[in-house]
């Protein structure tokens, strides 16, 4: 379960080299390293399920001022598909979850950083067609399904869970 990640604000002209590199390390390389560490054991067992937390802001859609975030989360989709392709014959599955906005401490920190918490929360909520953001438990339920044998025939896929955002308002 690769959940580590950071959300950077801004367009390509706002992005510094340091910010970009840090996001690559945290959003992509952390998954590269943890999967590299876990795979040999999974191969030995002849089974395993890897779940990466990507985002709907990736290869699926763009959100304003999410240049670094969208770029690195799209890489998670590619990483997921590559691992799934290479180890499907070993009984190992690899999927990613692409959430919309989720109610987490990280989100609340970003909302506070905008200087207008209430307005920012309203903006995030408004872009969700269901009129609400996700509860982290809803994401965890999908992760549980993808880790369990109930999803045994599923690999290399992006699992969008976004309250209808990617489907359009």
């Amino acid at each position: 379960m690769n959940c580590a990640g950071i959300v950077n604000h801004g367009s390509i002209l706002d992005a510094s080299d340091e910010e970009f590199s840090f996001a690559v390390d945290l959003n992509i390389k952390s998954m590269f390293h943890s999967i590299q560490a876990a795979l040999p054991g999974m191969i030995e067992q002849g089974q395993g399920s890897i779940v990466n937390i990507a985002s709907v802001v990736s290869s699926i859609l763009a959100a304003p001022d999410r240049f670094i975030y969208g770029t690195t989360k799209a890489a998670v989709v590619g990483l997921t598909k590559s691992v799934a392709r290479d180890y499907v014959k070993y009984g190992i599955r690899c999927n990613c979850i692409c959430p919309g906005t989720v109610d987490t401490p990280s989100l609340h920190e970003r909302l506070r950083n905008t200087g207008n918490y209430t307005r920012a929360l309203q903006d995030f909520t408004d872009r969700q067609p269901m009129g609400r953001i996700a509860n982290a438990i809803e994401i965890a339920s999908l992760a549980r399904y993808l880790a369990s044998d109930e999803s045994a025939f599923t690999t290399g896929q992006t699992h969008v869970i976004d309250g209808g955002w990617a489907n359009g308002a």
């Binding site: 379960m1 690769n2 959940c3 580590a4 990640g5 840090f22 390390d25 945290l26 390389k29 952390s30 590269f32 390293h33 943890s34 590299q36 560490a37 876990a38 054991g41 937390i53 959430p99 989720v102 987490t104 401490p105 990280s106 989100l107 509860n135 982290a136 438990i137 994401i139 965890a140 339920s141 992760a143 549980r144 399904y145 880790a147 369990s148 109930e150």
Partner: protein, 74 residues
């Protein structure tokens, strides 16, 4: 959904999505190993889940500050 025979490794488990995943898997009976850069928060989470099958893993899978991997499985 029973996950009693499963061993799960979760990164960024101290809060947010990682925490929810850790909690869901612990309650499904899985043996959960969790990591986070925020060790005090992770420790607090492990106390909250002490009634379940829980293994505290404090080594970081990848530390972007030091640039090296130091993952160790229990």
């Amino acid at each position: 959904m029973n996950l009693e025979s499963k061993t799960i490794f979760v990164t960024a488990a101290a809060q947010g999505i990682g925490r929810a995943i850790a909690e869901v898997f612990v309650s499904a009976g899985a043996k959960v190993t969790a990591t986070d850069v925020n060790l005090p928060l992770l420790y607090r989470l492990s106390m909250g889940l002490k009634l379940y099958n829980w293994t505290l893993q404090i080594n970081l899978p990848y530390n972007p500050l030091s640039g090296r991997s130091n993952l160790m499985f229990l």
